[in-house]
Symmetry: C2
Subunit: 227 residues, 2 copies
């Protein structure tokens, strides 16, 4: 399958590596591919530079946001929250079309210090903002409630006995994403929360997630809905 | 043990019944005990009137908020979110003293229709508002993330294999509450999230909790932190 991923950070890298490992074709989209390859620093979360990572993952293609949007049969938004709408605007509505897009981003606002707050919540969400900006795109909020290493390997936590959520306005797209989460990464318990307004709840899990990271001393955990 | 509970609704009733059943002495506090006993209607969540419930639970004492505050060795705030601060103000700082108070309330705002939004979140929380209003009170946010029937009987869900959170500024009070949750109701996995600012995360679980209620068709579930 051809998959277009927006975002060159640790989340995009982790997903790209995992999907290549499953035999898929992956293109990562970025604003300026040459600039991305010329970056001389990594991030706090991933100290290697993008080009170092790319050297170890040469099958991952790199293109513009529009290239990745056109390339993907399915799209993944793995940008930071603040970068999500600019990235999609750079790709353009025509390239995005009515494709299914997994939206993994969280509207984290680090401008007021740590821990971050949410730049939108309660009566709106980033998932809804993206859906409103691109009405034809079939946005499915998912995977934003756990760390990248667990996204692609749920078995790393409690043998995979925990929960992922999907929500979005297109029921068929939600079902497609739930199936892909199982096929790609082995997610077994995917709960369909309904329309995209459930992004509010999914994104509002971040504050307790951040406190749990502190309390447990590791990000390798996840929410399970016991029932 | 003597326990003072603020709030005459289903949460307060459920906790009072359970604690009486464990041999504790319980007083429920309300603004006007006579008016509470004269109510002729129940609530959506509990169609029996308070006096009908009290007739079936005669060992539960009823008093003013101040009576319940003085009565309790430990206090429980089981009011609705909007009623929390007025109830505690009616009790008064002198009666509340420096007691440990389990704060179960959620700042749900039903004024804009269903589902409710939160009247405070992200950069503040009801738990923090209560702690600021009564600096000596040792507020421990807990139990607000599950339904009343599960609060008092975690074994009703997945054999009790799920998680409760505590947070508050007093480490000893958090440890006391974690122990009481085990002794009173059988909670086995209680995670200490740290200071009262973690109430933001605990209260911000409500939107996804409400969507899960809709998706699962029952409120009898709970969050487990798989790790």
């Amino acid at each position: 399958m051809q998959i277009g991923i927006f975002g060159t950070g640790v989340v995009g890298q982790t997903l790209a590596s995992a999907l290549i490992g499953k035999g898929h074709a992956v293109m990562i989209g970025t604003r300026d591919p040459a600039a991305t390859l010329n970056r001389t620093t990594g991030t706090v979360a991933g100290p290697t530079t993008f080009s170092e990572w790319h050297g170890a993952n040469p099958r991952v293609q790199l293109g513009t946001f529009a290239d990745a949007a056109r390339f993907g049969e399915v799209l993944v938004n793995a940008t930071s929250g603040g970068g999500a709408l600019p990235a999609l605007q750079a790709a353009g509505a025509e390239a995005l079309g009515d494709k299914v897009m997994l939206d993994i981003s969280n509207p984290l606002d680090f401008s007021k210090g740590m821990p971050p707050t949410l730049s939108v919540c309660n009566t709106d969400s980033l998932g809804e903002q993206i859906q409103r900006a691109f009405p034809d795109l079939r946005v499915v909020k998912t995977l934003n409630t756990t760390t990248a290493a667990v996204m692609v390997n749920p078995g790393a936590v409690a043998g995979g006995d925990h929960t992922m959520f999907v929500c979005g306005n297109d029921a068929q797209a939600r079902a497609t994403v739930a199936r892909l989460l199982g096929e790609w990464f082995g997610w077994r318990d995917v709960i369909d929360l309904g329309d995209i307004t459930a992004s509010r709840g999914a994104e509002m899990l971040l504050p307790v997630w951040l406190r749990l990271w502190g309390a447990l001393g590791t990000p390798i955990f996840n929410f399970k809905i016991a029932r």
